[in-house]
Symmetry: C2
Subunit: 349 residues, 2 copies
DNA sequence: CTGAAAGCGCTTACAG
DNA sequence: CTGAAAGCGCTTACAG
């Protein structure tokens, strides 16, 4: 701690102030310059000197003042995370992955929830500029929509996650095609051959991609699709109704259903059960999202595709750091692999 | 913009640097001191001088460097938000309310998702100390548990939201008693007199408080409770089973059910419907949480109690700012009122 | 009412 | 290998 804190400026908190690099230097009997270099592992010096400084820093519980450092390095070692997700279903995992990965590099993340309101998003953006964040992560709820803010005149690196990425931008998305393919291939491997697909709303790009993955998996194994893909809302009701269409009294039934999300799958399983059939024995079901609250609560528990938002946030962060460091980063959208989480509804166990 | 940027230090981004207060002062033909005062609305000066400075700042698109300011004022104008909520159900609304309210005061919020892991929480706390945040908001998932971190040796103001608050701490919680009372009173006003309560797990404090509110409302209007309170999981299955107990063939039925959360209510409504009764005509149902994904998707849509996390976050933030400013803040836990969101399941419309 | 100067706590050419 | 000095962009006693 600094001993001579006689001249505390007014606004200061009256507490004992932390040790500064000057204190460390004095204790280690070196110059501030050397102390700085020892602490940052730059420059050359005898191991002995470096050690002495390190020890002093430790003894004083020295923590470099990030504002002083930021001022001279022209970097704040902070990032902004802008999102239009009100609920956190997508954003919180992304934020968690991002901020944990950044923490190791001494970077922290400001969260800006725009509440889906363009005016607020604009204010958030402005606030991030004023805080001089080093870069920005834009996180969305769907891959075919961006936020409402105009980023064109923005003078800092930006990365898009789970949101539409403007041309020439850097983005990270879950691989919906691959995820769907994984789900359907899993069912095929388990011996199902007659697989229906109950999808979300047609105007979501993700829905078309998942449909594509469904067909791709079938094709690879020479299976025929079961009937037409049934599009509808992202709701249990849709799954419920679709079940009634698929398992109508007359005609053949599918032995498995790949659902566009977990809520649809939930409705599907409920309907199948009510109709007197068993999941997974009679019909195997796989969902998409791996939203615990649905997937784990369904009876039987739902096998589902996880989009790996945690990793998405992490990768986006690393990319952003590279851009901030001035390294050239491929201006492209990267699709990150999904992961299948096997529970009971697919009949794997 | 500074014209003479010959001497850019190495690590700097090569972009044109922003205008500094020196540029503003020069343009307005005043000293830096005066410029600072004009911009911060401190000190006395002719309106004309102040205006000249303001205009110059605007023309140069001047934004004060927060690191320089922070360095001298010994304040970072940032807060940390630590949470153990993995999913964001509670935290994101709190974070949104908090950060929006803070934005107006030039304060931004670092999000630290601890993923419910003590080691990570500790790291997050350390990171926030190193970033020199001015204060901390601790946000939890339940009101009778804190985070795992030890805050005792922490040298900064802390506020707890939706989490257990240590003795002598400052906290903000939803008023579970009041919320439950509101729900039940609402049912009574609608003419229901035979109201059952299907609650969550007994070991949650919130469950006991909501039970208390249930009894309080009944007492006030001289109603008798319908049977015993039925405790169980926070699940649809629990609501479903409880319905079967309440509406067994023999004996009288309740004409309304107050459920401990929206998932229970959801199961309740499903069961009632399957049993051939109508919601709300035969039985009115009210939930708790106002979790859109459940409340709005239920048929009929669920009337529910909203805990106002947004406001909780906002209030916590204002409190924290007061503490940071050295004002004395009452060391107590404040319960914030809940709000009833009327949809169809209660029969109000 | 206004300004020159010191200083916040660091990093980094520059010099030895 | 090490250090004295300048400077990052502000605020704020202190002096006039």
């Amino acid at each position: 701690m600094t001993i001579d804190n006689e001249a505390q400026p007014q606004g200061a908190r009256p507490k004992i102030s932390r040790a500064t690099i000057r204190d460390v230097a004095m204790m280690a009997k070196v110059s501030v310059t050397t102390a700085s270099r020892a602490l940052n592992d730059t420059g050359r010096m005898t191991e002995h000197t470096r050690m002495r400084v390190r020890t002093a820093a430790e003894q004083l519980d020295y923590r470099p003042n990030p504002m002083a450092r930021g001022l001279v390095q022209r970097r704040s070692f902070t990032l902004g995370l802008l999102t239009n997700d009100t609920y956190g279903r997508f954003t919180l995992p992304v934020a968690a992955g991002l901020s944990m990965a950044m923490m190791d590099r001494g970077v922290s993340v400001f969260l800006c929830a725009g509440e889906n309101d363009p005016a607020r998003e604009q204010l958030n953006l402005r606030a991030m500029e004023e805080k001089r964040v080093d870069g920005l992560v834009i996180a969305g709820k769907r891959i075919d929509r961006g936020l409402s803010i105009d980023l064109s005149s923005l003078d800092m690196p930006v990365v898009h996650v789970n949101a539409a990425c403007p041309n020439g931008g850097v983005g990270f998305l879950p691989d919906d095609v691959g995820g769907a393919e994984m789900a359907v291939t899993h069912l095929i491997r388990l011996g199902r051959h007659s697989i229906a697909h109950v999808a979300g709303p047609r105007d979501f790009l993700a829905v078309l991609l998942r449909e594509k993955g469904y067909f791709k998996a079938l094709e690879k194994s020479g299976c025929e699709p079961f009937g037409e893909v049934i599009f509808g809302n992202w709701s249990e009701a849709h799954g419920f109704e679709a079940a009634h269409r698929l398992f109508a009294a007359h005609g053949p039934h599918p032995d498995a259903v790949f659902c566009g999300n977990d809520q649809i799958a939930r409705g599907m399983i409920d309907a199948i059960t009510i109709m007197g059939m068993r999941v997974p024995e009679d019909v195997a079901v796989v969902g998409f999202d791996n939203w615990e609250i649905f997937a784990a609560a369904t009876r039987p528990a739902l096998t589902s595709i996880d989009m790996g938002f945690h990793d998405l946030g992490k990768r986006a962060g690393f990319s952003l750091l590279s851009m901030i460091d001035g390294q050239s980063v491929e201006r492209a959208v990267t699709k990150m692999p999904c992961r299948i989480v096997v529970r009971q509804s697919c009949g794997a166990t």
